[in-house]
């Protein structure tokens, strides 16, 4: 059980801001593959992961990172603060 959050246009494409996901994926990339398979709107949101960033438990991470012990995964586009 992992909490998955979506922000900005990722949130808009998927249509929800967050959801609890049952996953056996070992890495972020594995989780992305599972999500893509759920529905076309997920496939659209994750079509190009190079346009995305991921945070694990609120720290920026890579798509190859392990999900072990992770409670919260967030997907979003590059940040545009300031």
């Amino acid at each position: 059980m992992i909490e998955v959050l979506y922000f900005a246009w990722v949130r808009e494409r998927i249509g929800i801001p967050r959801e609890t996901v049952e996953t056996e994926a070992a890495t972020v990339a594995g989780l992305v593959d599972e999500l893509r398979a759920r529905a076309p709107r997920y496939a659209a949101a994750f079509a190009d992961v190079s346009a995305l960033r991921v945070a694990l438990d609120q720290e920026l991470a890579d798509f190859g990172a392990s999900l072990e012990g992770v409670r919260e995964v967030a997907f979003f586009p590059p940040m545009t603060g300031g």
């Binding site: 900005a8 246009w9 609120q58 967030a74 590059p78 940040m79 545009t80 603060g81 300031g82």
Partner: protein
């Protein structure tokens, strides 16, 4: 609003703030400073003057952690008497102040460098996203490559 012995701190809020008031209290709190640098980010009327409003989304929790981390890094790298970051989220109109950083040090070089560092990291490492609304619709602001590249300086 301090998390360190140094003055300043991190604030993320929806409501407006006055850069003027923040600067005054920051200067008053920074004992021993000879140099105070502030940066204020303002909503430009881009999109050919058609920008009606902007909406800033953020990631509650991570935002504060990211800003605290960036501030702590600046305090480690430079000998500062204070560092403050304030960032708004939610709806904003052109001319409004989005965010502000302020740094204080004995001499100006350190205060300037630390303020630029805070801005560079905040731009690309703090989870904020801007959406611009014009009469034609809405669009997410794209990250600029040069903002990412700017991190290489530090």
């Amino acid at each position: 609003m301090g998390t360190q012995t140094q003055a300043g701190g991190v604030r993320v809020q929806q409501g407006a703030f006055s850069p003027e008031g923040e600067l005054t209290s920051f200067i008053a709190a920074c004992k021993g400073a000879g140099a105070v640098v502030s940066f204020s980010g303002i909503v430009r009327n881009d999109a050919g003057g058609r920008l009606e409003r902007m909406e800033i989304e953020h990631y509650p929790g991570m935002t504060e952690r990211a800003l605290e981390g960036i501030r702590a890094e600046a305090l480690k790298r430079w000998n500062l008497t204070g560092a403050a970051i304030i960032h708004r989220y939610g709806p904003l109109v052109p001319g409004e102040v989005i965010m502000m950083v302020a740094t204080a040090a004995r001499h100006r070089r350190e205060a300037f460098a630390a303020a630029e560092f805070l801005m560079d990291y905040l731009k690309s490492r703090a989870p904020f996203w801007k959406k611009e609304y014009t009469g034609d619709g809405a669009e997410w602001v794209a990250a600029r490559d040069e903002d990412e590249a700017a991190l290489g300086r530090w």
